[in-house]
Amino acid sequence: MARARKVFFRRRKVCKFCADKIDYIDYKDVKLLQQFIPERSKILPRRISGTCARHQRPLQQAIKRARHLALIPFTTD
């Protein structure tokens, strides 16, 4: 049974920033950042988005900067 489960195919996640070769994550790029803030406006965790640690850090920083300027929300109510 355990073997049968293993066969289940999961798509391999790839870091979007590595794939698209985006090295400078701009806090002004709302469209890009919005892909990483789901419904509740929380920052999408790495384990879900597949972003690598090297890019998650500047992404997190960019999202926080954008929030400060009210470009993207902190929460949705």
Binding site: D23, R65, L69, A70, L71, F74
Partner: protein, 137 residues
């Protein structure tokens, strides 16, 4: 050389002309201190993601500053913005280090084309693996 971005959000009830005079004020402070304004963007009226001081919109202005010496009037400008209650938000970011790092990582060279080709090969291999797994099942 250091480069900075200075973005601020102005109360939407302030007239466009007054926003311009305000920005000119700040620009003068920066240039008299020996830095340059490399470019400027006026985003105009934009909806805020959440209300600030019960306002739902704001006027966004963005200044790009570069300084040869590394000393700028930016702390003084920030101080002025803090005291001005027509400024809802401001943010200064130093950008030269991050931009330089980004440029070093992916310099525009013709060699990058061959790298992407290698990546495609790896993808093809992964595809065949899946097929064999399905065969086992």
């Amino acid at each position: 050389m250091r480069t900075y971005e200075l973005m601020f959000v102005v109360d939407p009830r302030v007239a466009d002309e007054d926003v311009v005079t305000m920005t000119n004020d700040y620009k003068n402070m920066i240039t008299t201190a020996g830095s340059q304004i490399t470019s400027e963007e006026n985003w105009g009226r934009r909806k805020l993601a959440f209300p600030i001081e019960k306002l739902n919109e704001g006027k966004y202005v963005l200044l790009y500053v570069s300084s040869e010496t590394g000393t700028t009037a930016l702390p003084a400008v920030e101080h002025r913005m803090r005291q001005n209650d027509k400024i809802l938000r401001y943010l200064t970011v130093r950008t030269d280090e991050d931009l330089k790092r980004a440029a070093r990582k992916h310099p525009v060279t013709p060699g990058t084309a061959s790298q992407s080709g290698a990546g495609e090969e790896r993808d093809a291999d992964a595809g065949s693996d899946i097929e064999s797994e399905e065969g086992e099942a």
